[in-house]
Structure formats: C-alpha cells, structure tokens
C-alpha cells in the first residue's frame, strides 16, 4: 500500500526557503504519534523517530512545535483545531499525489485549520528532529 507523507515548512514565523536543516520536513503518516498542547501558545505534533532510538536523556521523537495565539480562555486551545487538521490531512483523499501540504509557509499553503491560525500573532513552526 502506498504511504502518504505530510509536508511542513517554515521557520521563525516566516518561510525559510527549505534550504537548511530544520527549515522544513516531510514525515510519513505511519510515523504519526500524536498532538498535544505544550503551553497555552504552543502545540506539539509528534512523529516517531525514524532513528527508533529515544535518547538516553529521555528525549523524544521528531517534534513540530506550532506557536499560535492563546485562545484557551476564549474559543478553546488551538490544539483541537490543529488536531482536526492533522486527522483530516492524514486521511486526505483522493486528490493527493501522496504528499499533503499541511503547513507550507514558503508557498503560503495551509491545510484546513492551519489557515485559521497562520495569522495569529507569533505564528511559527519549529521542527526538532531526534538526534
């Protein structure tokens, strides 16, 4: 069965050009591990590390940290909106070629709820790969 891949690009609130480490990333859906709030203004998207070796220090897999507005006291934490977008992106069909642009700041392409948070003050994504 063909695998589906999720594409993310952006750094420091803008497009990084996808030409340096952590400017962008592309992860297989089968490696998706979860979404959870980190702080009121950040949400984590987790993928199991392709290295399959969690650091001795208790490190993590691959992590995409999304910075967004604090809406926890109004419309609810942004993590649900991001979670819904991820669920839909991972099941996106049939009009995909195998890669789904989830959040591509370079090319201003956003999937589902990401388009609602791209205008948030401080909006940013940071990709941290397992080491």
């Amino acid at each position: 069965m063909k695998e589906k891949y999720l594409y993310f690009a952006g750094i420091d609130g803008g497009g990084g050009g996808a030409d340096a480490s952590a400017d962008a990333g592309c992860f297989p859906v089968s490696r998706f591990a979860g979404v959870s709030p980190i702080t009121v203004t950040t949400t984590g998207i987790y993928f199991r590390s392709a290295m399959d070796n969690v650091d001795d220090s208790g490190g993590a897999g691959d992590l995409i940290t999304v910075t967004h507005a604090d809406t926890s006291a109004s419309t609810g934490h942004r993590c649900k909106l991001i979670a819904r977008a991820m669920g839909r992106a991972m099941n996106a069909q049939p009009h995909t070629n195998g890669m789904v642009d989830v959040c591509d700041v370079d090319n201003d392409i956003y999937f589902d709820g990401f388009s609602d948070i791209k205008g948030d003050s401080g909006f940013d994504i940071v990709i941290t790969l397992d080491s």
């Binding site: 591990a33 979860g34 984590g44 993590a60 934490h77 839909r88």
Partner: protein
C-alpha cells in the same frame, strides 16, 4: 485510519508529559483497565516514542447498574477506534470536556455520540 481526540476540562499545557489534551492514532491503542466501578483507564503508546512510557486516559462514567461500567465504556472505545463514518475525515472527538478557563469556548464540550447514556463526566490524562 481514525484519530481520536481527548481533552480535559482545562487545556493549557502538557507536551508529551501529562498533556491536557491529546490526538492519538487508533493503532496506538494498547488496552484498558477497569480502575474502579466508575473509572476506566485507556492506554495508548507514548506520543514521544518512549518505549517505557504510555499515555493514560482515565474516563469517569456510570456504573454497570446505571448503564455503563467497564464493558460499556470499552465497547464505546472499540466502536470509535473502528468507526467508519464517511463524513468524519478520520478525526473523531471521543471526549472533549474542555470548557476552558472562560465559559465562551466555541461549541462547548463535545462527546462522541457513542458515549450517550454512559454517564461520562470527567476526562483525566496522565
């Protein structure tokens, strides 16, 4: 594949350690434990891939005599894990009890219809 969403009453922090909300893939499901007559803990693989850790979601529900119990809530979970609704896009809100720190959360709390009549009241994620 289905992805299940859970949220406590207040969603602010957590990360991979004791998050207050979680989206988890159905294939991360590990099992369930009847913690008491009114609480059941569901286990999933850790979101950060730590093999010795797991996500624990404890749901408070009605007793067996009152229409739920362990078997009732586990049945609801298995139906959600295997749900095949054409319109849900794979994103399934199983139990979102987030009311926020203000009473203005859009849409309020949201529970799967599979939980109707099961007396679900509290979600705790550890």
């Amino acid at each position: 594949m289905n992805y299940l969403y859970f949220a406590e009453a207040t969603v602010e922090t957590g990360g991979a350690s004791n998050p207050e909300a979680l989206l988890l893939p159905a294939d991360s499901y590990l099992g369930a434990d009847p913690a008491s007559t009114t609480t059941t803990t569901f286990y999933f693989k850790s979101v950060d891939g730590v093999p010795t850790a797991r996500e624990a979601i404890t749901i408070t529900h009605a007793t067996t005599a009152n229409g739920c119990g362990f078997k009732g809530i586990v049945r609801a979970m298995t139906l959600a894990l295997n749900a095949n609704y054409p319109s849900n896009d794979g994103f399934i809100v199983f139990a979102d009890s987030e009311s926020g720190t203000a009473a203005t959360k859009t849409g309020g709390t949201e529970y799967s219809k599979l939980l109707n009549g099961l007396g679900v009241t509290t979600i705790a994620i550890a």
